[in-house]
């Protein structure tokens, strides 16, 4: 039995679970755009909202942070790069490098925004079945001329289906390598090659098997259309979200404290 990673769908009865996927997709796009313009205060308030969602979905916060450690490391690099390169009032001198107050501010804000976008995506993917995401994508693409919406939707759904499988296989391959003291190899290129080649082979084999299994069950583009199950709360949810962000932006730009 495989463990669920935080991005995998888990069943539940939270508000986000009940909402129509089209509405959630719209919410994610809208929220991501707003986050890119938000200041520290707005970001922290939204972080609070996300924590409430995460608690409702019943994903362990500590466990999630542990699994996202590589991403957090990446954010750390972004923070450092910003802190060291943005000119302003110097705070720390170290071997010819200068960390500025403006750099720290900007680095912190950019890292926080990235983090919020990622957690929003996590909340979305943990409450949305990939099949319904595929259906929503198909629904949004349908009015666009010359776009084969069914084919695009299947590509999305297979990518979503395969991503956790590849992560799981990477983990298994890494364990198999470490079980034979592969962790003693310090050269990162050799380690990368040793992990990547078997992983690619496994991934292509799995893809082959999946194609056979789909063909065996008559897979084709002319399939029964997806079914949506709106809960009736979608409009209210989008209006509240819009109101929430407009309220935050009003304070961000109109308050006397704003720069």
């Amino acid at each position: 039995m495989a463990a669920l990673n935080p991005f995998m769908f888990r069943q539940g009865n939270s508000l986000l679970h009940c909402l129509d996927t089209r509405c959630k997709l719209l919410w994610v796009c809208m929220t991501s755009l707003f986050i890119l313009k938000a200041d520290f205060l707005a970001c922290f308030i939204f972080l609070g909202v996300l924590i409430v969602f995460i608690k409702q979905i019943q994903i362990g916060v500590k466990d999630t942070l542990r699994q996202l450690k590589l991403f957090l490391l990446f954010l750390g690099f972004i923070f450092l790069a910003r802190a060291l390169t943005i000119p302003g009032d110097p705070l720390v001198f170290f071997h010819g490098l200068t960390i500025t107050r403006q750099g720290l501010n900007q680095g912190g804000l950019v890292a926080l925004r990235f983090f919020l976008v990622m957690v929003t995506g996590l909340v979305f993917s943990a409450t949305t079945r990939p099949a319904s995401l595929k259906s929503a994508a198909q629904w949004f693409l349908k009015p666009i001329p010359f776009v084969p919406e069914k084919r695009a939707a299947v590509m999305i759904s297979l990518a979503l289906r395969f991503f956790p499988l590849i992560l799981q296989q990477a983990n298994e391959t890494a364990n198999a390598i470490d079980a034979r003291c592969g962790n003693l190899q310090k050269n990162p290129i050799k380690r990368f090659v040793r992990l990547t080649l078997p992983l690619l082979k496994k991934t292509f084999l799995s893809a082959d098997h999946l194609i056979l299994a789909m063909e065996a069950r008559c897979y084709g583009e002319d399939r029964t259309d997806p079914e949506f199950e709106p809960s009736g709360k979608e409009r209210v949810f989008i209006l509240y979200s819009l109101g929430f962000w407009l309220f935050l932006f009003f304070f961000q730009y109109a308050s006397p404290l704003s720069p």
Binding site: M1, L4, M214, R217
Partner: protein, 250 residues
């Protein structure tokens, strides 16, 4: 004698590298039969069963379903001849148990309410209804195998092919799966099972095919062929050996 559901005539498929394949296979399957397909690794079992479902196409000879060449309607073939693969993980496409079972009927473009009714009925039949919203990745090996069968049953097949169904299953999982398969057979579905574990299915099967070097070496009743299994590199059931040893006692 009833007319066969499916028959192969001089079925041949040689792989491009010249190594392996199947050669001149002739046999037929009738409604409600339970056939064991035995043979050592590389004997051509998987190649043969992939032809029966239309996943591989014959290079010579033909396969006839209801008397018609399967190439005329591959969709009907895949609907009628369901296939449960060895590795259930790679067969599962849906992200919930319900979606996985609905995948086949959706491909057949059936109306949504008909799909929903069918899926619920199949989940109830295989005792998976309590798991319908679960992510298949979180199921046990036995549950995944039953889910793979449910995905096939939702398409109303006449024949179900199992490729090594007991691989990676513990004893209770195997027993539960075997009970499910036997029940399907009792209800009229023809079963073809490619397996090394002949002992488990011996009492349910009515017929045995033995493959060797890509050819159908034997086709006959289980009782007649069970003593020949070792000759073809398949383990003879212990029960038969014990029975034989007792019969030699004075």
């Amino acid at each position: 004698m009833t007319s066969p559901l499916l028959e192969t005539q001089h079925l041949t498929h040689r792989y491009p590298d010249g190594d392996g394949g199947i050669f001149d296979i002739n046999f037929s399957i009738s409604k409600g039969e339970f056939i064991i397909l035995a043979g050592k690794n590389g004997s051509g079992k998987t190649t043969l069963i992939r032809h029966l479902n239309g996943l591989l196409l014959p290079q010579k000879g033909e396969i006839r379903l209801y008397g018609k060449n399967i190439l005329k309607d591959l969709t009907l073939t895949r609907k009628t001849v369901g296939m449960v693969f060895q590795d259930a993980d790679t067969q599962i496409v849906g992200d919930t148990v319900f979606d996985e079972v609905a995948f086949g009927p959706e491909n057949l473009n059936q109306p949504r309410n008909q799909i929903n009714t069918k899926v619920i009925a199949v989940l109830e039949q295989l005792d998976l209804i309590g798991l319908k919203d679960r992510n298949p990745a979180t199921l046990s090996g036995g549950e995944k195998r039953r889910l793979a069968i449910a995905g096939i049953l939702a398409m109303d097949p006449e024949i179900i092919i199992f490729d090594e169904p007991f691989a990676n299953l513990d004893h209770p999982g195997s027993q539960s799966l075997l009970a499910t398969i036997s029940d399907l057979n009792q209800k009229g579905q023809a079963i073809i099972m490619a397996t090394h574990d002949v002992e488990s299915v011996l009492k349910y099967a009515s017929r045995m095919l033995i493959m060797a070097d890509g050819r159908l070496a034997e086709d006959g009743s289980v009782t007649d062929l069970v003593k020949k299994l070792e000759f073809y590199g398949v383990k003879e059931p212990c029960a038969c050996k014990i029975a034989a040893s007792f019969s030699w006692q004075p």
